[in-house]
């Protein structure tokens, strides 16, 4: 009765051959991948250098002002700057800068790729449908799976971490950019066309500004997804707060884990609220013109 309960048709996949092929591909094109790796590592390094050369109090004051002006409440500014100070007081300022530089590098690249892709997809129903399963896969594939090829091609370190972050975090900005542009009122688009707009005038003067709230929501989501990759990326040698969590897990050091984990949470909250506040602040400024 085994044929009834065991699935009878099993394809024997030669996993070794696939692995070998990928490895030799990586080896054959090492120069290419090393080039990308060097570029990414330098990019992360540059951001980190910049963050390390901003005096801590400047960053605290900056967060205070962004929180205050963005949310129009003095209270928010004070709360956010205190939260930032907590990370510093836990002695994790330098690690925070490391984490932040990987996240910012990943988000920058994700936006540089994702925004144009989103715009392209908005223009064609067929492309949108074709892209859908790919986007679903990028988002639902267990993130650890990205780490394996990333390590093979780019080795351990921040370059692999950035690549994995980009793949995982790019999805929302692509989706929401495409959705936002599609949702622009058809009559507004028709009106713009009737006044003789070229395609690029239509895009930059009408569609993107009209879709901006949705696009901004996508950017915010991308930022949050990148933050959620912080600990995972530490498994392939990304240093920073995530690595601190990983060490704590390996050594079962509860307090160390909580300190680093809380810092990750604080950083995520700050990035989320400050970007949201910046956008809604802009919107309010628009309303006040009346």
């Amino acid at each position: 009765m085994n044929w009834l309960f065991d699935f009878p048709f099993i394809i024997r996949i030669n996993t070794n051959a696939i692995d070998r092929a990928v490895r030799s591909f990586a080896a054959d094109h090492a120069a290419f991948f090393d080039g990308i790796k060097a570029g990414l590592t330098n990019f992360v390094g540059a951001i980190n250098w910049l963050l390390n050369h901003i005096p801590w109090f400047v960053l605290v004051v900056l967060v205070f002002f962004l929180g205050w002006k963005g949310h129009k409440r003095l209270r928010s500014g004070i709360a956010y700057s205190i939260l930032l100070c907590i990370i510093g007081m836990l002695g994790l300022w330098g690690l925070m800068n490391l984490t932040l530089s990987i996240v910012l590098a990943g988000v920058t690249i994700a936006l540089l790729l994702g925004l144009p892709v989103g715009v392209l997809l908005s223009g064609s129903d067929r492309a949108n449908q074709a892209a859908r399963p790919v986007l679903d896969m990028m988002q639902t594939m267990p993130v650890f799976v990205y780490l394996i090829p990333a390590v093979i091609f780019f080795g351990m370190g921040s370059a692999s971490a950035v690549i994995a972050t980009v793949i995982y975090a790019m999805v929302p900005v692509v989706r929401l950019t495409s959705l936002g542009i599609r949702q622009v009122d058809a009559e507004v688009v028709e009106a713009a066309r009737s006044f003789g707009s070229t395609k690029s005038q239509m895009l930059f003067k009408v569609q993107v500004p009209q879709a901006l709230p949705t696009i901004m929501a996508g950017i915010n989501q991308t930022l949050m997804m990148a933050m959620s990759m912080v600990v995972t990326c530490s498994m392939i040698g990304a240093r920073g707060l995530g690595n601190e969590v990983l060490i704590a897990v390996n050594r079962i050091e509860i307090s160390r884990g909580f300190m680093a984990g809380s810092s990750v949470v604080i950083l995520a909250i700050l990035l989320d609220r400050l970007t949201q506040g910046w956008f809604s602040g802009r919107k309010n400024a628009g309303d006040e013109q009346q």
């Binding site: 009559e187 066309r193 009737s194 006044f195 070229t198 009209q210 013109q289």
Partner: protein
């Protein structure tokens, strides 16, 4: 310059794959629905030939699905006809290159939309200046011309307002200002006032007429409202199921409708059919009860300068009418008031149409009593109010 600014010849717009078969059927006079069933082709327009005179208001009227919106979008090539030609001032619109088409849209035509089509991220000035902006005009010049255009539609002082804060009527003024800003030769208006409430619509119609008379633009106006069509149109074209039925002046169309469909359409403009008695009845100034004394009845009539007064019981049920002459006689001969009340009087219900009660009102020597199902008096209709409702 010729008198005709746009001429369309045999313009058709079909959606679907088996268009040639559909054309064959349509040539044989098949209906839109029949063609759709047999070939799966949707007929938006079939064989429309129009000559649109310069400097006049040309109204295209039809129900939804008649092809009127498709037609107007052919004039600025938002739609490209499947067959036929559109000659605009000697230029064949279907032969324009992409660049020429952009220039054509920027200089020669502009359009006003039913739901305004305004950009919420720009203020009034930014919206009005949009057409000039995409045509590459410098900021100072385009804002100057946008302000003139805004003044023309009576929106001075609102230049910096955001679109979200304007009422429907004001939004459509912005739409009109935007369309006028690039000084087009032809203004296309696709049911521009349908989304507005009736009072605002009247204002806007008046506004459009006065602007058109002032600037002498050619206006192609789409509507489904025959009143609006006759009020605005120098020429009216009526469409049905993608075909052109009749083109004429409003007077010509009223006196000489091409077929039964046009006649029904025009009759729908006849107000007496849509108004009901409820809309025109008035509340009686005064009432008496059968038990009231003669002196009281006479006092009521004298005070309100009436020649007759209605009598009702405690539940407002109509008992009849007492005329001044009868009341005088009752007083002279000391008769009882209740004997003098005329019981056989004309009455109607509040839901009757005005057209139904015209003969009744014409014959009766008293105002008509409006009664509900239980015979209670709701109001009265005088001859004067019937007449004034028809104007």
């Amino acid at each position: 310059m010729s008198e005709i600014i746009i001429e369309t010849k045999n313009v058709s717009k079909l959606y679907g794959v088996r268009r040639d078969e559909a054309a064959e059927l349509l040539r044989g006079g098949a209906e839109k629905s029949e063609v759709l069933k047999k070939t799966g082709v949707t007929t938006a327009l079939y064989d429309v030939s129009l000559r649109i005179p310069r400097g006049k208001i040309f109204v295209i009227i039809g129900l939804s699905g008649s092809g009127k919106s498709t037609m107007v979008r052919c004039f600025n090539r938002l739609n490209r006809p499947t067959w036929g030609s559109i000659i605009f001032d000697g230029v064949d619109l279907l032969k324009l290159s992409n660049q020429e088409l952009l220039e054509f849209r920027r200089r020669k035509v502009s359009m006003v939309f039913q739901s305004f089509g305004l950009m919420s991220h720009r203020n009034v000035l930014g919206n009005v200046a949009y057409g000039l902006e995409v045509s590459g005009m410098g900021r100072e010049e385009r804002e100057k011309r946008a302000r003139e255009s805004i003044a023309l539609v009576g929106l001075e002082g609102w230049e910096d307002a955001m679109i979200g804060n304007l009422s429907g009527g004001m939004r459509q003024r912005v739409g009109l200002a935007r369309a006028l800003a690039n000084d087009p030769e032809v203004l296309l208006m696709d049911e521009p006032f349908s989304a507005l409430d009736p009072l605002v619509r009247n204002d806007m119609q008046f506004e459009l007429l006065s602007i058109q008379r002032k600037l002498g633009k050619t206006v192609i106006f789409i509507t489904h409202d025959i009143d609006e069509a006759f009020r605005l149109g120098d020429t009216v074209a009526i469409m049905r199921d993608g075909r052109l039925i009749q083109v004429d002046t409003p007077e010509g169309m009223s006196t000489n409708p091409a077929d039964e469909y046009v006649r029904r359409f025009i009759n729908s403009a006849d107000k007496s059919k849509v108004l009901s008695v409820r809309n025109i009845m008035i509340t009686p100034v005064s009432l008496i009860k059968p038990g009231d004394g003669i002196d009281h009845a006479l006092r009521v009539m004298r005070k309100n300068e009436l020649s007759s007064v209605y009598a009702v019981d405690g539940q407002m049920k109509l008992k009849g009418i007492l005329t001044l002459a009868d009341a005088m006689r009752a007083k002279r001969e000391s008769l009882d008031l209740s004997e003098m009340i005329v019981k056989d009087i004309p009455s109607t219900s509040p839901d009757a149409s005005v057209e139904e009660i015209i003969p009744l009102a014409a014959e009766s020597s008293y105002p008509l009593a409006v009664l509900d199902n239980e015979g209670r008096l709701q109001g009265i209709v005088t001859k004067a109010s019937v007449l004034s409702s028809l104007i």
